[in-house]
Amino acid sequence: MNHPIRYSFGADEHLFAEVSESMSLEAFFKGMAVTRAVEQLALDGVLDVCLANASFQIRFDPDRIAPDTLLQAVKNAEAGAIAEHRLHTRIIEIPVLYNDPWTHETLMRFRDRHQDPSVTDLQYAARINGLADVDAFIAAHSGAPWFVSMVGFVAGLPFMFQMVERERQLQVPKYLRPRTDTPKLTLGHGGCFGCIYSVRGAGGYQMFGVTPAPIYDPEQKLAYLKDHMVFFRPGDIVQFKPIDRETYDQALAEVAAGRFDLRIRPIEFSLDEFMDDPVGYPRSLQEVLA
């Protein structure tokens, strides 16, 4: 993780920066440190600082800041940024109806685009990850918290990276050809990343379930969306909680009534403590929600 960041201009309006070719929490933390340092410079002409999993991008107006000036400022920020290994953030419990009827209907509709049309996405994911069955997969998926390492693709969609050792990371390929439809608030998975589809639309990730909790709403109807129409930020920690159909329907009714709320707690995450004890440390985070 000590090699320098690779910079490349996306023509005249973007500076692209690859922290690492491969995904790791260290790469994410380094990207976060540099982008925060760049944000603090409040450079005139910087339009948007976009953090991704193991990279970042700066959208800028070259009429206000010369590309070379920006590059030099970012390189200086990189040199001065101490990859902070502690992060003040929040842990959020997201209820999930795994194996739900809506993603099931959708995945059956697009079976011809899947690696194994004879089984469901969950059955396929369980098998190729060497887990006994769907229940074992759900237990692994909801067994350890996830780090939001990027927000994007479409408005407010979180990419998430599970807090487990690399050998235990759940990995699945994307669909052979992307679907043209994905139900809103579907839990997806592609490569080593989980996601929640914030809106209905195209998608290529495997589909495992749905959450009743809106995470993007331009009308900002729920309490936790009052600050911003986009709920997630990189650095958020997510714990999935399996729920049954009855609880799901009840939550939906609360959403409709504008009463639904999420369990959210402030938390301090330590990368070093996680690296030292990748099994025990995430459990201590889960306890904050108990």
């Binding site: 927000v151 408005a155 911003h228």
Partner: protein
Amino acid sequence: MIKVLKPGLATSVQDLGREGYYHLGIPPSGALDQYALAAANHLVGNPAGAAALECTLLGPELGFAQDALVAVCGAHMTAHVDGVPMHADTAFAVRSGQVLRFDFPTAGARAYLAVAGGIDVPLVLGSRSTYALGALGGFAGRRLLAGDQLPVGIASGNSHAGASLPMALRQSLGGEIILRMVPGLYYHRLSDTAAQSFFAEPWTVGSEADRIGYRFKGASALSFEPREQPFGAGSDPSNIVDSCYPIGSIQVPAGLEPIVLHRDAVSGGGYAMIGTVISADLDLIGQMQPNQKARFVEVTLEEALQARRSYKKRLSCLSRLFPCGVEDIARA
């Protein structure tokens, strides 16, 4: 007020777009042809960035419930008012009760219909542009539908029917388009053969061409150098660990058909990008029709900046010709 009688294929309210929310997955949106939007606005006495209607391929049919000064720029698709054809790139008056409709485009893909006073939808995150994927901005966060009633703002009174773009400031559309791009991002992952054929062969706009991006087909597949894929990147050689996508970036899923992202871009994903179309040429993409041909030409960042200066100069010629205020007239 303007009533939408027929919505057309994909008509939406757009201004110059919103900046500052791409890190949350909300793209800039705004007119795909920013020059045409500015031109139409200037002709009716609006600021360059007033909200107008972006009318794609098959235009809408609009019933005017008020008198209005209107101009259409961009794609060559003649507007008719109660059946009478109007000149393009020229302001014209529409009276309350009249109906405006469009012919099919003879060149270009997007016409911009500006109304004096602008389309007066609410500002959302600093812009009136529609971002349909996120159901955000514009009119009800979506493309127009029959029955929609579009509010119109108060006209400046700074223009008049007959105001017209000089020939030098009109756009030439159609034919084979040259798209200048700066190689970079994951360009180094392309094989040498692919790096050559990408520029040497003409590409054709496919049927999947919309505000999110334009897919090109008809040239040789582009192979990537084989490698052991990094952790988290996915198994295909065209996969990367999901990253941000620049507006204008060119990705090549599975090495098959390049996609150039535009102003409603998905903000990130897991396909290697091989470079980025320069900002001065993004308008050209928005005016390309399916089956139109394009070639990609490699330029340096310095050349991209030079092209941007020329483009901005044309824009400033527009605003000098059509000043928005009395003081501007005195200076012009």
